[in-house]
Amino acid sequence: MIELRSVTYAYQQGTPIFQDYNWNAGRGEAWAVLGPSGCGKTTLLYLLAGLRLPTSGQVLIDGKPLTRPRPHTGLILQDYGLLPWATVRENAVLGLRVRGFYGPDGKHAPQDFQRNLDVEPWLRRLGLEAVADQYPGQISGGQRQRTAIARTLALKPDLLLMDEPFSSLDAPTRESLQSLTLELQAEQNLTMVIVTHAIEEAAVMGRKILLLATPPNQNAHVIENPAAAQASFRETTAYLALCRELRLLMERQDR
């Protein structure tokens, strides 16, 4: 599904964030990208979203090199990116309206796109019916993030990219949204890449964890985490052991 082929990415000055970097992710997999701030997590996500292009090398999604944002990729950012002047319902429908605006041109919208502005099932699924007519400024952080999820899933993506999506939420809200996201990921058979700086979040969300270090990142460091699939993984010793391992790895890299 995702293939990074000798990707180098550097901002104008300084060390490249990625250097000759290779990484593969399969369809339907749930990945967490973990690393300290400044390691290039968000850059990786923007590369996968087609919002940035590699300095050299290729990012392939479904075997096709990425040159611009792809209609079947959904992106959810840390501060939600909701339009402050639009209600929850209007925000949820925004992606569909953008598609309707261009029509099925294969560039901004998939070629098989059928005009459709119905997001009610998504509002229901995400428990947003009661606040559907309110503005982002009037609702809680968790509701805002669910609105962003509804907006993205309404476009029926096959790849979901999330950048620190739950970091500004309180713990109970965060945990319930993490579970909901995993549920939706399985239900929609999404390939998911979630970027986080929180070890606990990576352990819960990632069936596979990609560890990034202080740049330049040269080799993909992948930690398998199959146990995350079991129910109430958070309470298992496997979870605690994984968190400990990740913490050690991050500390070692820091030195």
């Binding site: 923007y46 990116g81 339009l83 639009a86 992606g95 309206r97 605006f101 901004h108 400024g137 993205t152």
Partner: protein, 246 residues
């Protein structure tokens, strides 16, 4: 602010006027009752024509300045390069009181509506330009990236992000400058025209010495300014409802 409170304020102002008129007791300050009667009779005569002339000038110049300044502000707000090219110019011109250009514009454009419309346009244009530019520039990059990731290109970004984002700026600019615009219209209408409330007020006050009619003209001009102000308020509630939620 409630309607009832506004009504009380209006009554208080009229009472104050009545009181001062009684104390002064000279023809240069007629009481409100007399002015009201004159206002009604004059409306059937010339006053309406003058009012319409002034109203047209304000509306035409407002429409013109929104039509030109809003897109220009959006473009400057989006493009750092263009903005750094133009901002010194705007920085210099923005604070200059545009009313000093009245004689120049009159010299160049002569009689008729055009010079008046241009003067008000100059005032509104820079106000709208600066506010819309700053609002467009203040849009967070994350928001733009999010909407781009939904498939939006330049045109859709304009339609779904920049255009609605600029509305509050346009309306704030109008609210701030509508008073100045009417004031400058008054000054501009003193010259080279025989239509408009400015001319009407001046004619009745200095030439005809018809003070109640002069006051009726002043009331009409105040109503013009108030009406515009209320219209902006109304538009803001209609077009920007998210600003009024808590």
């Amino acid at each position: 602010m409630r309607r009832r409170d506004l009504l009380f304020a209006v009554i208080a102002l009229i009472l104050l006027w009545q009181l001062v008129a009684m104390l002064v007791n000279r023809p240069i300050l007629p009481p409100p009752g007399l002015v009201a009667r004159t206002f009604v009779t004059e409306l059937r005569g010339d006053l309406l024509v003058h009012f319409q002339a002034s109203l047209w000038r304000v509306i035409a110049s407002t429409a013109l300045s929104v039509a030109l300044a809003a897109p220009a502000g959006l473009i400057l707000g989006q493009s750092k390069r263009l903005n750094s090219l133009f901002s010194p110019l705007i920085y210099l011109v923005y604070p200059v009181p545009k009313v000093v250009f009245v004689p120049i514009v009159l010299l160049f454009l002569g009689l008729g509506d055009a010079p008046k419309i241009v003067i008000i346009f100059l005032i509104l244009f820079f106000q709208i330009l600066v506010l819309v530019r700053d609002q467009a520039a203040a849009l967070r990059p994350e928001l733009i990236q999010s909407v781009r990731s939904l498939g939006a290109g330049r045109r859709a970004l304009f339609r779904f992000v920049y255009l609605p984002a600029s509305l509050p700026g346009i309306l704030t600019a109008l609210r701030q400058s509508v008073g100045t615009a009417v004031a400058v219209l008054y000054v501009a209408e003193l010259y080279a025209t025989q239509k408009g409330l400015g001319y009407y007020i001046y004619l009745n006050g200095s030439t005809l010495l018809n003070y109640p009619a002069m006051y009726a003209g002043i009331v009409a001009m105040s109503l013009l300014g108030l009406g515009l102000y209320f219209s902006v308020d109304w538009l803001e509630k209609r077009l920007c409802p998210w600003l009024f939620t808590s």
